[in-house]
Structures are given as structure tokens and as C-alpha cells.
Amino acid sequence: MARISLEHIRHAYSDKAKAAGDYALKEVHHEWEDGGAYALLGPSGCGKTTLLNIISGLLQPSDGRILFDGKDVTQLSTEERNIAQVFQFPVVYDTMTVFDNLAFPLRNRKVPEAEVEKRVNEILEMTDLAGMAKRRAQRLTADQKQKISLGRGLVRANVNAILFDEPLTVIDPHMKWVLRSQLKRLHRQSRFTMVYVTHDQTEALTFADKVVVMHDGQIVQIGTPAELFERPSHTFVGYFIGSPGMNLMPASIDGASARVGDQTISLSGAPAVKAGGRIELGIRPEFVRLGREGMPVTITKVEDIGRQKIVRATFCGQPLAIVLAEDDEIPTDAKVSFEKSAIGIFVDSWRAKTETARQEG
């Protein structure tokens, strides 16, 4: 268990990287607290796995240092860093039994056999594989194999951190839920530092205390699930988290009010807007009200997704999504209004600070 600090880490897969665009991982400077459960969330190709492999030591970063509890481990091998990692696709040692697979990381480290037996049996119990301990791993199904991979990650008692690289991709939805809750419980019991890479927001939001959102090789926001939802600090977070994502529309700012098309929307405070920046107004579909009062809107489509209705509309020439409860009425000749506290102003994709009054968080 350790506090992991990343100091100005950058990584490029080619040796001749010059421009910022050559880096798969742009500068990351962040501290992972001891015992935290983190999720690394982002679309495919945003650098999540690169960052994970740098932490585990499978990759050497092009620049920067990694510290475990203040000790520089940048040059240390994966084994010396004492880290467990679970990969996206199942890795099992075909010729070994399930038991031997799980015992492998312990036996390689010369753990006494009695201790091996105890740990492996705990893991077998946890992953529901106890019935097949003596079977060869080769003929198992994909999700059983992945459970073995997961088990090998969890079997060591004294690791500095456990890293998960989209571990539940091949597991069927029901089992996903069960395993995730077990991981969560295990985290509460053991207080291992856990980093969980995923592109699935539900997975990230349910697993982690802190979610790290990555986009295009950099970290755009670190926060609790609620913070990410209510105060996205980057338009990407607004778009990526939530379903449907945040409504974004080009705007101009005049003191404490914003203009979108020919409509003026009053804000809770005057945002700090630098001149020449591209300004956008963002509002989550959950905070758009549909009623008889407000600004004109044209409704184009209503999607009923069960417990909610998603209304697709056009507002000042911009697409606008609105989330309504299952039995909310859609009035004829509907008008929209935005909940003032939920409006965010973004300058060049980054959230602008409000000068006069803090927005509700």
C-alpha cells in the first residue's frame, strides 16, 4: 500500500517526439492517495493504458518521475515495484490448474506453501471458482479465465497497488455487477490503492471514490462522481459523463448574462472570460425545464427509454436534449428555461470561473 506520485510524466512511443501532438501521454502531474479507489475514465486511445503501464513499470516514461511513498521508483522493474495488474483480456497459464494459476504469483515470491494455500482458497471463494480448483485452466470459458486473471491480481497480500486495465470487458453483464461489488468490498477491507481503467462511465462511477477523466493524452478533471456530473471542468467531461451528455451551444457573455442566438440567459454570476476565446454555454439535459414559460423551442423527437423521456429539440438553431421524468407532460407550444445554478460557461473548452458568486456545487 503506497501513495503514488506522478511528477511531470510524459510519454511518447517514438524516440523522436518533439511537438506536443507526438506524445501519447501529455504532461500528467498527480498524486494517488494511499488506499484510494480511483477510476481512470476516457475513450479508447486517450492514454489510460499508457498511464497505467507507466505506474506498473511495464513502460518507462519519456519524461518525469514516479514516487511510491516519496521514494523514486522510476528506474525500478515491475517486480521491484511490487504491483499487481489485471489486463483487459484473460491471461491464464494453460497447462496449470486453476489453483496453481492463482498460486503462481505467490510461489514465484517464495511465499510459504501454507500461506499460499490460505490466500488461494480465499480468492477461490471470492471469485466463485472453488469448485474447479483442480481443473486445468485451458478449457474454461472466457469469463472464468478472466476471473482467474483477476484472482491473480488480488492474491498477493502486500502489494503497493492493484491496477485494473478494463478487467470486466469480457465478462457478462450480470457477473460484471457481482465482481465489481466484490472488488469494492475488497477495497474497503484491504485499503489497497486501486486504479481502475475503464471507458464505461457506470463502471467508473460505481467503483471509484475519485474519477480521473482523461482526454487526448491528458487528465481533464479529477473529482467525485457528483462533481463530474454537476461541475464538469471541461466540455469533454460534460459530453462524456451523463447520458445524453451536456448540451453545449456557442454563446457570448455580457456581464452576468449570456446570449445564445437571440436569447439572453441570466447567470448566477459574471464569468471570467478572456477576450478572443471560444465561448460555450453548457447545461445538462437534467436541468433543462420544459413548461409554458421561458424561451421558444422546437421539439423534434421524443425518446421513451423507460424511466425517463429524452426530448430532442432545436433551440436557437442548436440541438438541445432535455430529460423528463416518465410521466412529465410535454405541453403543446412548449417553452424552455435553464436552471441558473446548473449553467456552466466554457472558454476554449475549459470551464470559466465565476467572479461574483460561487455556483452551487
Binding site: 517486480e79 483480456f89 491471461v91 497447462t95 514465484n108 491473480r152
Partner: protein
Amino acid sequence: MEKTWNNKAWFLVLPVLVLVAFSAVIPLMTVVNYSVQDTFGNNEFFWAGTDWFTQTLTSPRFWDALWRNLVFSAVILAIEVPLGILIALNMPKHGIGVPLCLVLMALPLLIPWNVVGTIWQVFGRVDIGLLGYVLNSLGVHYNYTQDPTAAWATVIVMDVWHWTSLVVLLCYAGLVSIPDAYYQAARIDGASRFSVFRYIQLPKMKRVLLIAVLLRFMDSFMIYTEPFVVTGGGPGSSTTFLSIDLVKMAVGQFDLGPAAAMSIIYFLIILLLSWVFYTVMTQSDAEQG
């Protein structure tokens, strides 16, 4: 599942059957025909029954050739398989080295058998051959035309030179199909270099190794051209393998009957040994489950 019977389906396999019949079955049957008859020329044949088979199976000449051939196959398998694995493990997996190594490895395979024989025949000559001349200058007595040990060494080294590449290429194909995640997981699990080989690489290479062993066994058991060109089966009959013996009998002495009987025995031995290899090597697959 219920099988659908449709006798018209036979027409679909007919072309292949005809082709195989002409290329394999009919020639084989003529051999069977010769093996049970005797002739004194003039195209007159007499029924000989199992005489030729009895004669072959009781002749020390046949058993000697068979024994030499078995030793030869065992020796080259024992050298080529481990050597091939070792080379494949050390071949680069990325970059410019890959095509370079592959071409280098494929080169011996592209050379025709008789040319390989000629190369080594010249290479090993005491008077003008680089190998033979240098060895003798260094005081090593080496002359493959006089010394059976030297002849055997030459034939074995030649076969290793010619065919190890095949094992290398097959193993390499098996190795590159292993996803990186396996090696990464092994590093995370703290596996030693030997464990990586024993638990990741070897199991993944098993299927291609089976093919390599089968191919090398069958080829070496049928070897003819190279030793024939280099040693001609000599000195004496020390490198006379089954096929060389067979050709001597069939073409040299024109004993068609005994040669045909020997061919059939020879064929059955190859079939039997290949089956044994296959069964033994796939045994562990069937055991589990």
C-alpha cells in the same frame, strides 16, 4: 444433430477421389501388384505370394538400413528441435531484424536437395573443400569417403544446416502469436525467464512443434538425395538408409518384387511411427477436461 443423407453429395467429392486415385492409389496398387509376383522379364509374371515380404523381413540388410535410419532420425530430431526452439526464442520480434532473420532462415529451405548435397560434397572434400581442408590442416583426421564416423557427421550436420530453419520458422510463428499481455502478466507475477518459457512459450508452441516434429521425422526417415550425393551410401554401407537401399535394389539390381515388398513395409513403418508421434504429443490435450 440429425445427419442429412444425400447420395448426390458423392459427386462433389468425385473429382478429388479421381485425382487422388491417379496420383496415389493406382501407383500404390501397382507396387502391391509387384510385391506379390515374380518376373524373369518378357513381361511374364508369376505369383509369388508373401515370399518377398518374408525375404525382406528376414534380410539383415533391411534391418541394418532400418536401424541406421532410425538412429539418423532420432539424432537429427534431438538436435534440430531444441536448436530450432533456441534460435526462435532469440529471434527479434520487432524492427528491421525481423525480415532479415526470416530471409536468412528461409535460405537453406529454398535450396534444392541435390544442390545441398553437392555443396556439402565439395565443402567436405579433403583436397579442395574448405571444411575438409581446414579440418585436416588443423590435424583433425576427417575424410567422409573413408571414415564412417566422418560420413555420419557430415550427413547429420548437413541435415541440421538444411532443415533446422523449418523448425525455427514454425516455432517463431507460434511465438509471435502470443499476445504481449502474457509477457506483461508474467512480469507482474514475478515469473522467472524459465517459467515464462515453461508456462507460456512452450504451451503456445506445442501445436506447431507437433507439426515440426512430424515433418522432420517423415522427411528424415525418407532422406535420399543428400546422403546419396555426398556419400553414395558409403563408405561401405555405413550411410545406406532405407530409401538408398530401396533404390539400389529397385533400380540398381532391378529386383522389382523385393523392392516393392520393401516399399510397402517402409510405408507402413512411416505410417505407424507418425501415428505414434501424433498420439503421444496430443495425449496431454485429451487427458484434461
